[in-house]
Structure formats: C-alpha cells, structure tokens
Symmetry: C2
C-alpha cells in the first residue's frame, strides 16, 4: 500500500474513533506528521469516496456519515472473525472476483483472503454462464486452503449456502429457502449465486476459491428482463434495505463458523443445517445434467452432497450436479 493510502486510512481511523466529535486539522497534521494541506487532501479524497465529513475552521473535522461501502477499512473495523478477512482486497469494478482471487491465490495469498468488488462486469455463474452483478449487491470471493481432497470441493458450496441462508434468516424478515445444491431462494426466486473453483493435484486441493454473489439492495426493475421471473433481491422481497456492510460482516462470520464446523465436525453437520432451509427434499423434481433429464422424488442428500432421486420405477439415482426444477406451483 502506498504511503498516501496508509495516511488516508489513518485519517479515517482517527475520524472513526472520534465519530461525531470534531478533531482539529492541526492535531491530524501533528499525529500524521504531514502538512495541513496534505490533511485537507486526504479529507477531500475520503469525501469523494462518499464519506460525509463536516469541517469548521474553528473546530476542525468531524465524520458525520460513513458510506455503505465494503472497503478494507470499513470491513476490518468491525469484523469479528479469526481467519476470513485476514486480508481484504477491494476493487470498484472487476471482471470477476473469482478470477482475481485465483490470481492472488497463485501468488501465495493467505487462506482467508477476501476479494470484494463494488461491481462485477464479467461475473460468471456455473459453467461460464453470465451473471448480473450491479453495485447494489455484494460480490466477493474467499480464498481457502483446506487440507482436503478435490472430491470434497462441493462441500464448500454447501458451507457457503448454509452461511448465506442463516445470514438472511438472521438479518431480514424474509424466509430463505435452499434449492439443491446451493441456490438460495426467497418466495421461489434466486437471490444469490455461488461459484466454487479450485486448483488441485489429484489428492490435494492447492487452493479453493469460493465466489458468492448476493442480490441485496437491487431494485427489481434493474434486472434484465429474462431474469425477472427467476431472480429477485433481498430488498425487493423483504421490503428492507439492509446496509451492505452489516450483511457482509454477518455473512463472513457465518461463513467462518460453517467452515470451521466442516473441518471439526464433518460434512454431516453442514448437511444438518442445510436441511433446515431445504425446499428440495420431499418434492417431485426434474434434474437436468449433462443433457440428461430425469424426474422423480427428491428423497435425501447423501454424505457427499449428492441428491438422491427415486425414479417412478423405484430405482434410486444419485445426482452429482445439475439444474433442479421443483415441480411445484411456483417453479
């Protein structure tokens, strides 16, 4: 980080600590050991980022309002995790946080590093599908380095979806529902996307990148028309505007809790949480995977996260991956 960025962050920290109080330009200049003109420049730059800072020639500067942005300073100030967010990389606009995360992981980024973007312009869903990621949502990736085999990778999508459902449940009045394997729906429409990617040897994951997108404060008329009957936002369904920062911090904490749970108590415990929000099991489903389509009763999820589907002739199919349609009224 440049000297200038560091000093700007320090100004911000001091303003945050003295929230709603004035601190004189002279004191800031003394504490940072820079000129008062330099202090003024840092204040200007913070204002451009959206911070509302009152200034008075007699009293000095006072932070009135911090913008709802997911910058490292705002995140780290209140984050209560041990691992996730140890390092936070924030970008106004990226093609895809997963791509950036993979590149950081190759350059030895630590486990727990979080890459977060205000906006993704080339967001990807599963199998390269396009994904719509405007500024009102939360778009981020976490780098994990679990000492596990590549065939465990799908477990981390379950970790993510459970953390997400719990966060929505906790912070909003909406009822989150999980569709197998890792779609979170509210009132039958998707509010999030999860994309897990990894680099691995045959018997060892090198790094795993968990990409999570949340349609938080997005007006539904912002959605492309082909998405409108499939996707929604948390704001739209709950009628509440949850500050991005609050939601993100809670989500990171939940994510860490579920990640540690996976490692200490095993995948069965994750599935237990998953079942609490599940709307797939017990229903008739149609599963499309690799151009194969099958319809049957979704009976259970096994200890590898596979969906067990009982076909009309009584045989049981284990589905590893695919798109599920619930054959119910709203799907």
């Amino acid at each position: 980080m440049s000297q200038t960025s560091k000093r700007k962050q320090r100004v911000l920290r001091i303003l945050h600590k003295n929230r709603d109080q004035y601190i004189s330009g002279q004191e800031l200049s003394d504490r940072l050991e820079v000129s008062r003109t330099a202090v003024w420049k840092y204040i200007q730059s913070l204002r451009e980022q959206g911070y509302v800072i009152d200034s008075s020639s007699r009293l000095g500067y006072c932070l009135v309002k911090a913008p709802d942005i997911l910058s490292p300073e705002e995140i780290k100030k209140d984050l209560k995790t041990d691992l996730l967010g140890c390092e936070v990389i924030y970008q106004e606009e990226v093609k895809s946080t997963n791509s950036l995360a993979k590149s950081e992981a190759r350059q030895e980024a630590e486990e727990g590093t979080v890459i977060v973007a205000k906006e993704q312009v080339g967001g990807k869903g599963r199998l390269g599908r396009e994904y719509f990621c405007p500024p009102g949502g939360i778009w981020f990736s976490v780098i994990l380095r679990p000492n596990m085999k590549p065939d465990s990778a799908s477990q981390f999508s379950f970790v993510a979806v459970v953390a997400l459902a719990k966060t929505i449940d906790e912070l909003t009045d909406s009822v989150p529902e999980i569709k197998w394997p890792n779609d979170v729906l509210i009132n039958g429409k998707k509010v999030s996307g999860i994309l897990t990617e990894m680099s691995a040897e045959i018997d060892q994951i090198d790094y795993l990148v968990l990409g999570i997108g949340v349609n938080l404060n997005i007006a539904v008329d912002e959605f492309p028309s082909d998405l409108k009957n499939k996707a929604t936002s948390i704001q739209e369904e709950s009628g509440q505007q949850i500050p991005k920062l609050n939601f993100f911090l809670s989500l990171l904490e939940q994510l860490e809790e579920e990640y540690f749970k996976l490692q200490t108590e095993g995948f069965e415990k994750i599935i237990e949480g998953w079942k609490e929000y599940n709307i797939t099991l017990g229903n008739e489903v149609t599963v499309t995977s690799n151009n194969e389509v099958l319809t049957g009763q979704a009976v259970d999820v096994d200890n590898k996260g596979r969906l067990l589907v009982e076909l009309p002739n009584g045989t049981m199919k284990k589905v590893v991956a695919g798109d599920v349609t619930l054959n119910t009224e709203y799907n």
Copy 2:
C-alpha cells in the same frame, strides 16, 4: 514467433528436406528473400543449437546431423498425432513445465498443447516434493481439456502411466513395471514421475495438466546420492541409449491413443492395460497416506483407480492416494 525465428525454421525445414544433399547459399537466399549474410547467420545459429551443417563455398550447405533435441521443428516434422503436440512450446530451462503449462492454459492454450523443457530447475513431484530433472531426461507437460468431472482426474495419471509403460516396452529391452498408482519401475527402481494438476469447477474440469518426467539417458552417477537406491534411468537398466526424440514421439502417440481410449471405451479399458504391467496386485503392501499406515494384501484396483487392500482381519480398504511399498525382496 519473430520473423527471424520463422526464417530460421524455414532454413531448417529446407535443409531437412534435402538431408545429406547440398543446397546453395544463393538458393536459400532467393527462397527466403534475405541476404546471403542473413542465411549464414541462421546457419550459425542452428549450429549453436547442435545441428551439424557442412558448408562448402562451391556446393553450399548440407545438414549432416540433427541434434537430439525436442524442439518444435524436430517434433512436428515426424509427429503422427491428431491432437497432442498441435502446439509445442520448447524451453531450454524452466522451473517446471507444469507451471508453464498452467499459465498457458489460463491464457486459453488449446487442448493438446505440449510444453517441453531440456532441463527443469524446480521440477516438482506430488505434494510439492522436489524432483531431479537433468538434460538427459524428458520433461514435459500436456494440456488437456476433457469434458469430465474433477473426481475423474486420477484417471489421467493412469492414462499416462500406461502410455509410458507401453513406450518403454516397445522401444527398449527392459521390462517396465507399474507400481500403484503411477510409478514406472525397471528392476524395482523408478524411471519416471507423473504429476497431474487441474483447475476445475465443482462439476467440470476447466483444464488438466499432465506432467511427465522420464529418466531416459541419464548416467546413474548423476543422481543425488539419496535417490540412487530408489531411482534409475532407462539407459542404465537397458544398456541402450534411445534417442530422446524417438522416445518422445512414441510416447506422445501412445498417450494420445490411451487418452482417446479413455474417452471412447472408458476407464475400465485403461485399467486393463495397467494390469498388464502391474506389480502391485497380488502382493503384500504397506500404504502410507495422510500419516496413516496400513499393511495388507493388494487385491485389485477399482473403477475409480482406488487400490483395494485386504487387511489381515479380512476387512477391505479402498485407498485413494498414498505411497505404496511392496513387501517383497527388492522394495
């Protein structure tokens, strides 16, 4: 490729076509539309690479002997594959061909691209173990993009080891033996190493890099002392010096054959070939994996490549990965 490299390659192609015949500097200069001085410079540069080119002021130039190097020109001249080697990248010295291959794959390198090095200075074995890769061996990686799930990745190591055993069997008098999962031994000592790495989503391999090292023409006294009782070279065991280029071309052809076989006939067919060279099954083995050690009878390999080990108490263990010691006279 630079204009100079292209012209040099063209000179080489013309010389190869007129092998053991003289072609005048004037003719080369006319065909390439460059000065005779430029032609002379290309000839000099080829000589530096090890090409023996006779020159006579009256007759011109004549290729007497091509060096045994795995350059794209030498490889492509005689390669009879459809996919593997469609693109060949040659480096005198790399840290690791797998690393370079992964970087090329990320930049959309085509399936079948081969990265080959005269020498690897940071060669890696499984789980980051160091690997000794002097110029007398063959060190290369192949980029594959199979439309398969990540849990199939181990199948490609089996593809590689079978291709390798078949090539040794065909070109030398030595008897190759495969130790589970993918070590090729001659007289109980390793002559090769295989490292498979991949980048994947949960249900789809993005790219897979198959790294193969062969101890071909290496004098055994070149080996570090701690390797001498575990590793050997094909030259040492067979008493034959097989030209690197011949070996490499045959290996690429075998590799392609087995790769196509995997995709059209399935993994069972690969295992069939594997079993012909196997020395693991039927023996008592000790398997070390993840700090767990077990000893028992190696009974079979299942359709996922797992080693089935029958413990003394009669229970059957399925081993996904690990180091196997054969409890026989020479291991």
